[in-house]
């Protein structure tokens, strides 16, 4: 008797499991406004999460976004702790050797944030200055190339901004969307900081979703969803929602 009940329960669970859509576990470092950030309800919100939900709807799968510290996010992907990273990861040659990337979904430049009264106006002015950036980001790599620059790396870009406000660094490098958000929109810093300029780059820098090497199935699923979202015009709607108020 009990055996039958037990078996029927098992069957129900099994069927329920099969009928459920595939879930992709996604790591995001939600300290990168307005791309990914935490809201007051401890939910990861921003451009990327919203885009992900749209892609999931179009692609017919479910997403589970996990907040992971940036420092170590790639190690976690390699260790199989989650299926993909959607955390404004720029597609670089160095990273391509270690992981697979989806189609690009966003173009970024590097923005330089300085204090309002700072004399830094061009790239040449950065020489020999203390420059802050989040560790392991393309902003950090760009900062390391500055002549005679003293680079300080931070675990989150917010701490770099706090140190800029405290005067321990002279400039902070970050993706332009993030730099703009801090310098123009943030409540704490918009009166004391400004976006000095954008770094010129020979090759355009794109963001992509990162997957462990060889995870073809998820990659195709996400690429298909992304293409559908772009085609349906939903991408532009989400873009407008998060980036129109910048100017």
């Amino acid at each position: 008797m009990y055996k039958k009940i037990f078996l029927s329960i098992m069957v129900v669970f099994f069927l329920a499991g099969v009928s459920h859509a595939k879930t992709i576990n996604i790591a995001a470092d939600c300290t990168w406004p307005p791309m990914e950030m935490m809201d007051t309800k401890k939910q990861c919100i921003g451009f990327t999460p919203e885009l992900l939900h749209a892609i999931a709807r179009a692609g017919g799968f479910e997403v589970n976004i996990i907040n992971v510290a940036w420092d170590g996010i790639f190690a976690g992907l390699g260790g199989g702790k989650y299926d993909m990273i959607a955390s404004s990861v720029s597609i670089t040659e160095q990273r391509k050797k270690r992981m697979d990337f989806s189609d690009p979904y966003f173009e970024v430049k590097q923005g330089v944030v300085v204090k309002k009264d700072s004399a830094i106006k061009t790239y040449a002015d950065l020489a020999g200055k203390n420059v802050g950036a989040q560790i392991g980001t393309t902003g950090f790599f760009a900062a390391k190339k500055i002549k005679d620059g003293k680079v300080k790396s931070y675990n989150t870009v917010g701490l770099a901004m706090a140190d800029l406000a405290a005067g321990r660094v002279d400039a902070v490098l970050a993706d332009d969307a993030v730099a703009t958000d801090f310098a123009l929109n943030s409540h704490e810093y918009k009166d004391s900081m400004r976006l000095a300029f954008l770094l010129k780059s020979d090759t355009p820098e794109y963001l992509g979703f990162a997957f462990p090497k060889g995870s073809k199935e998820n990659l195709e699923l996400v690429n298909k969803g992304l293409a559908a979202v772009k085609a349906s015009g939903e991408y532009d709607k989400i873009f407008a929602k998060w980036f129109v108020t910048q100017e």
């Binding site: 190690a75 160095q94 950090f140 300080k152 140190d163 321990r168």
Partner: protein, 300 residues
């Protein structure tokens, strides 16, 4: 007592004849030290890629770690002595302040304190500006001279470059935390001295201050120094926490290297070996010091 010629002659403390200490090569310290040096040497010169590159990348983090540690130790010693004396003070207000400091600092995790003092207080306390203000006040206002030449002098500018704002802030935060622990060590050391010493000192006419500084503290030193040495080692290791504040110490440089090239195992192997070497040197120093101090306590 043993004057019948059969047993060893027991002479009181202070006059024992020291036995030669044996320096065997195969104790744990030598094994760890030469093991670490050998491994580091092997990795850097025979597996050059990427170990040598990691070492050169980390190199400028080593002086930062040492600077933070030394500065924090100096501050912690001063704060510890003041707190320790404050904790045994008979004046209620001083006692209360010292006890309050110890209770508060011991009750907050070091990492939280570091964040609080480094980022939280950054808008109020800027050490370089603070220094300038003090010079301005004493030279400018009190003495009525021009403070400019002193503030802009090569020595001061060099010192400021040697100890930038971030290292200074981080060391102060470390020092404040360890000052409380050190205070407890000092207090325990002072109270461990036999009451008879105080009574004897007072009865031959020393006042309270003289008793403390000429009789009690010199004896308490011997009890205090070994645990203080251990605190030094603990502080050195805890100084890796300042890497979270973006101070470019060994660990932070290692994390940076790893964030560029993604060679986790190799990077942290080198980081661990460097920390181990520095700590071993320090612990050797502490144990030499302890041996010197225990010289007369041993039954030889």
């Amino acid at each position: 007592m043993n004057d019948n010629g059969k047993g060893p002659i027991h002479i009181g403390d202070g006059a024992a004849i020291p036995r030669k200490k044996d320096f065997g090569l195969f104790n744990a310290w030598w094994l760890a030290f030469f093991g670490a040096i050998g491994l580091l040497f092997y990795l850097c010169f025979f597996k050059k890629d990427p170990y040598f590159e990691i070492l050169t990348y980390l190199a400028d983090g080593i002086p930062v770690t040492i600077k933070v540690t030394v500065l924090a130790i100096c501050l912690a010693l001063v704060l510890g002595l003041i707190t320790g004396l404050g904790r045994i003070s008979r004046i209620p207000v001083i006692n209360l302040i010292a006890s309050f400091y110890v209770e508060v600092v011991r009750g907050i995790p070091l990492l939280v304190q570091l964040f609080y003092l480094y980022y939280g207080m950054a808008n109020f306390v800027k050490w370089h500006l603070f220094f300038d203000k003090i010079v301005n006040f004493f030279i400018g206002t009190v003495l009525g001279l021009d403070p400019g030449p002193i503030i802009e002098s090569a020595v001061i500018v060099g010192l400021k470059n040697f100890l930038p704002e971030d290292i200074l802030s981080a060391s102060v935060a470390m020092g404040i935390c360890y000052g409380a622990y050190m205070g407890e060590v000092f207090r325990a050391g002072i109270t461990s001295i036999d009451k008879g010493q105080i009574e004897a000192s007072r009865s031959i006419g020393f006042n309270r201050k003289q008793t403390m500084f000429c009789v009690i503290l010199p004896q308490a030193w011997r009890t205090i120094l070994p645990p203080v040495g251990n605190e030094f080692i603990a502080l050195l290791k805890d100084s890796s926490l300042v890497s979270i504040l973006a101070v470019s110490d060994i660990l932070r440089r290692g994390t940076e290297y790893n964030s560029i090239y993604y060679v986790t195992f190799e990077t942290y192997t080198v980081v661990a070996l460097i920390y181990l070497l520095i700590t071993l040197v320090l612990s050797k120093g502490v144990s030499i010091m302890e041996n010197k101090l225990n010289y007369y306590d041993k039954r030889h």
